[in-house]
């Protein structure tokens, strides 16, 4: 009997290690490919200059336009998505206890995360045609916001469900309203998790090429207003990869490195912040 259970333990352990190895090795292989292929053409010029004439044929310049464009788009989108998601997540958790509505909303949100981001892009594009708008930073932000809001809402919702009921009771028993309890206690307790959800949604936004294909346009310059078209890193990578010139293709990998570094920095910052907020969290 003991032997069988020990064996079980061993098998389970090896299964865990095996899955870890497969996943981590594949990811490392992707990282390695990107770095090996991209590192040689990584230069200061790439991140400080916009493309000069003939960049896509091997000419000089960099992809500052796409770096700035991607940051503008995803920061704008995450701000909008956050403003929409927080009240939704709070509603799902705190105000709807006596109805079936939250279950239905959660299902809709989950289904919507399965729709390809391209479809969201097309949807916004149809609206743009309707109102006679041209591809721009503004419409790009709207598109990304539309497609990351369900992800963000569901993420925050999931985290708020882990807030212990006794905290809510503690606050209400002191004569606070439900709103005060939400803002001062529930949100505070969930803050580290909310931050993680924000970073995940941001990552989805900044890494997505398809959704803004029709709505944000593409340009070699840095946008100076919301109505200017805007370049993104994923599209810059795509365009550089699709040229027949090996040097330019290498630059695509270098651009991917830049995208990786941005996401890495962001997740590092969020971890540090999250640890600070964790200090007060009740476990």
């Amino acid at each position: 009997m003991i032997k069988r259970r020990n064996l079980e333990e061993k098998i389970f352990k090896s299964v865990m290690i095996l899955s870890l190895t497969i996943v981590i090795c594949s990811l490392l292989a992707v990282f390695a490919t990107v770095i090996i292929k991209g590192a040689p053409s990584l230069s200061l010029e790439m991140i400080t200059e916009v493309p000069k004439g003939g960049y896509y044929l091997g000419g000089g310049g960099g992809i500052l336009n796409a770096i700035v464009g991607s940051l503008y788009l995803s920061i704008g989108a995450i701000v909008i998505a956050f403003i929409l998601s927080l009240p939704m997540a709070l509603y799902l958790n705190q105000y709807s206890e006596r109805s079936r509505v939250p279950g239905i909303i959660r299902m809709i949100l989950e289904v919507s995360t399965g729709i390809p981001s391209l479809i969201y892009g097309v949807f916004v594009f149809l609206i743009m045609i309707e109102v006679g708008a041209r591809a721009s930073l503004f419409w790009g932000i709207i598109t990304i916001a539309v497609f990351i809001t369900p992800i963000l809402t569901r993420g925050m919702d999931e985290i708020m469900q882990t807030v212990p009921l006794k905290l809510k009771e503690a606050s209400l028993a002191l004569g606070t309203t439900r709103f005060e309890t939400l803002i001062h206690v529930i949100t505070r307790q969930a803050l580290p998790g909310i931050l993680t959800a924000v970073i995940l949604a941001f990552g989805r936004g900044i890494g997505d090429a398809a959704s803004v294909l029709f709505t944000a346009g593409y340009t070699d310059s840095i946008p100076t207003s919301l109505s200017d078209p805007v370049a993104t890193l994923p599209l810059a990578i795509f365009f550089q990869l699709s040229t027949p010139i090996p040097e330019v293709q290498q630059r695509a990998y270098a651009s991917a490195i830049i995208l990786l570094v941005i996401v890495l920095l962001l997740s590092a910052v969020s971890r540090i912040l999250s640890r600070r907020f964790m200090e007060y969290v009740v476990r």
């Binding site: 206890e97 006596r98 212990p164 006794k166 905290l167 009771e169 503690a170 606050s171 209400l172 028993a173 002191l174 004569g175 606070t176 309203t177 005060e180 001062h184 206690v185 505070r188 307790q189 200090e279 007060y280 969290v281 009740v282 476990r283």
Partner: protein
């Protein structure tokens, strides 16, 4: 410690019935709770004593599908009526939960949370509230140098005293304790008991417990509930020494519990 004359009533419960999803939890409760005394509600688990307690600050409102009838009068005002402002009520009727439930913030912020929400903004006033409240529960000396530390860093006993301090900080007239010491070690529990006894001059205290020895230590007035009904109530000495009902006798002798 206990007194035989039960003084003026602070809370009057008249013909109170309470059900959750048509299960009757409390049946025809009629009792008067004396002012500035410790009233202990005893009875076996599941008898409805916590439900009665949580009716007094309307925390039962959080439960789905409840229904009730009758009256609970605090200073002659029926708090079950529809126009009761529950935030106002709960400011007046503080509650300490079964296990410590500090808020996700610092020791200092836990105490000022209530007063701030109820309108105190002045820093000096808030500092004084914190010091007073923590002194009343005997926690000040232990934490005065680390008020900014997370409340969760305190021991469980300290956390429960902090919860008591947090309640005192909103200046209630009534304090409800729902088996408040059951998650604590004996020394911390004793600490809380001593503090409650010293607080009763200024507060009307209701304490739910299923520990008879504890009830005997702190009670001035006793309510015995069994299967949702009040079997017996009266000054502690009378109920403990000369129980009138057979069921009270049996419970006190430990026949069931």
């Amino acid at each position: 410690m206990s007194s035989d004359n039960s003084g003026p009533a602070k809370i009057r419960v008249n013909n109170f019935f309470f059900s959750i999803e048509s299960n009757e939890i409390l049946k025809d409760i009629n009792v008067e709770i004396p002012k500035n005394q410790i009233t202990v509600i005893i009875g076996p688990s599941g008898c409805g004593k916590s439900t009665l307690l949580k009716s007094i600050n309307r925390m039962n409102d959080l439960i789905e599908n409840i229904s009730f009838e009758g009256e609970i009068l605090i200073d002659d005002k029926n708090i079950l009526s529809r126009d009761t402002d529950v935030t106002e009520l709960r400011k007046n009727v503080g509650m300490i939960a079964q296990s410590p439930n500090p808020l996700p913030m610092s020791i200092y912020d836990n105490v000022v949370y209530g007063p701030k929400i109820h309108g105190t903004r002045d820093k000096v006033a808030l500092n004084r509230i914190v010091e007073d409240a923590l002194k009343k529960v005997g926690l000040w000396e232990e934490v005065k140098d680390r008020l900014k530390d997370p409340a969760t860093k305190l021991s469980l006993g300290q956390q429960q005293r902090l919860c008591l301090a947090r309640t005192l900080a909103i200046e209630p007239e009534i304090i409800l304790c729902d088996e408040t010491t059951s998650a604590l070690d004996p020394i911390s529990a004793k600490h809380i008991e001593t503090e409650l006894i010293s607080l009763k001059e200024d507060y009307t205290i209701l304490f739910v417990t299923h520990i008879l020895r504890q009830a005997k230590r702190i009670a001035d007035y006793v309510i015995f509930i069994y299967l949702g009904e009040i079997i017996e109530h009266g000054p502690a000495r009378e109920v403990f020494n000369n129980p009138k009902d057979e069921r009270t006798k049996a419970y006190l002798e430990g026949v069931f519990g």
